[in-house]
Amino acid sequence: MIKKVLYFLIVIAIVASCKSGGDKSGTLDLDDSDIVQGELEVSGEVMQDIIQSVSSPVEMAALVKSLGVQFSNKYLAPTEKVDELTTSFQKAFNLGIYGADLGYLNMYSKTANVIDYISAIKNLADGIRVGQFFDFTTLKRLAQNSQNLDSLMYLSVHSFNQMDQYLRDNNRSNLSALMVIGVWVEGLYLVTQVANEAPHPDLAERIGEQKIILEKLILIVKNFAKDKQFSILLEELNRLNELYKDVEIVIIPGEPEPREENGMLVFVQNERSEVKITDEQLKEIITTTEQVRNKLINL
């Protein structure tokens, strides 16, 4: 009988090691905000849609780079205090913040700084038990070799998407939401900071269009607002939303048109959106985004 039990335990151990991907440093600290509780105002499907629709951690950085803006360390969140982030809320939110920063670093091939960020991300990912999706060893090697930067970019963004997907699949949508909100806040912080120093109509447009996603993120955060940290997050997002109320997005109709360009199928969208945002509104959004982001990363 003992032999059978031992046999079974060995299999369970193998299963557990497969699931953790060989990760030994994962902690198992759970707090109240780690578990979705109570009735949700937004259905699971709608929540999934909203979380899924938030842009990837590299998209804002890609826009900034495409405008010819120089890289600057000052837009990055500091990683020194990562060990002081103890709650699941802090870990998940800052995971998103560092994820966006990693996207920015990768976009500019700043591999020397990447190690600090992948270490911080690994630490936080382990803290909320998704570290198995973050292949720290490979990422570190790719960053140290400064070669195969496309793989570094792919693997970091892919790992991030996998962590998010895993959290959503395992009924931990609150943490997934925090991660993507962290990405969103840091992305908005990056474009607003750049817009402040090097104004460009595309940046103003991109900042204005965030109205679309902000309204949806607020719906999600409301679900968890019984939690103290979530209620602070809601307050901060509402501060931003107030400023966005007078930002208008108008649609000019048009039909999509398929074309073939150099053997590539291209669909050209002729329906257009236009963001109506004044300089004053933009200035207020820039200032408030900085305050909100700095408050939230230190929450």
């Binding site: 899924q52 447009e205 669909f267």
Partner: protein
């Protein structure tokens, strides 16, 4: 007999897990290959695994929401997993308007990818299905090509 079954059970579990891990690695490799392009930056992937549709019924499809931004050229690619029975088709919708597809019904032409010149910021939906309602496994990839 029961004792024999008991002994085989953990082996069965172990083999299932190994097979699941191999499958996960396979699909990750497909995603990496599908995302590989010198002129585009990988943003997201969408993994689908669909059963065959019931005869006469609507084809099974997977739906994903995504935010796209104005003045941006995006690339949508779709790649089947090595053992996929069906040929995947990726369609992009703005509300209920089809704004992009890897399969052009009018010509019957199939493309592995298409670029989308986005001029309207908003939430879009990607639908992935398999031709003729077959079962299949595939990865859709969204990439950033350039600012327009």
């Amino acid at each position: 007999m029961n004792m024999k079954k008991f002994k085989l059970f953990p082996i069965f579990i172990l083999l299932s897990i190994i097979s699941l891990n191999i499958r996960a690695q396979d699909i990750s490799q497909v995603a990496a290959q599908c995302a590989a392009a010198a002129d585009a930056v990988y943003l997201k992937d969408y993994v689908v695994n669909l059963d065959a549709s019931t005869p006469g019924g609507a084809p099974n499809q997977a739906r994903f929401a995504l935010m796209l931004s104005k003045n941006t050229k995006y690339r949508f690619s779709v790649c089947p997993a090595p053992n996929s029975e069906g040929e995947p088709v990726l369609k992009l919708y703005d509300m209920n308007v089809l704004v992009g597809s890897t399969y052009i019904e009018a010509t019957g032409k199939d493309f592995h990818m298409f670029d989308f010149n986005c001029q309207k910021s908003g939430i879009y939906h990607v639908f992935i299905s398999f031709k003729d309602g077959k079962a299949g496994e595939a990865v859709g990839v969204l990439s950033f090509v350039k600012r327009l």
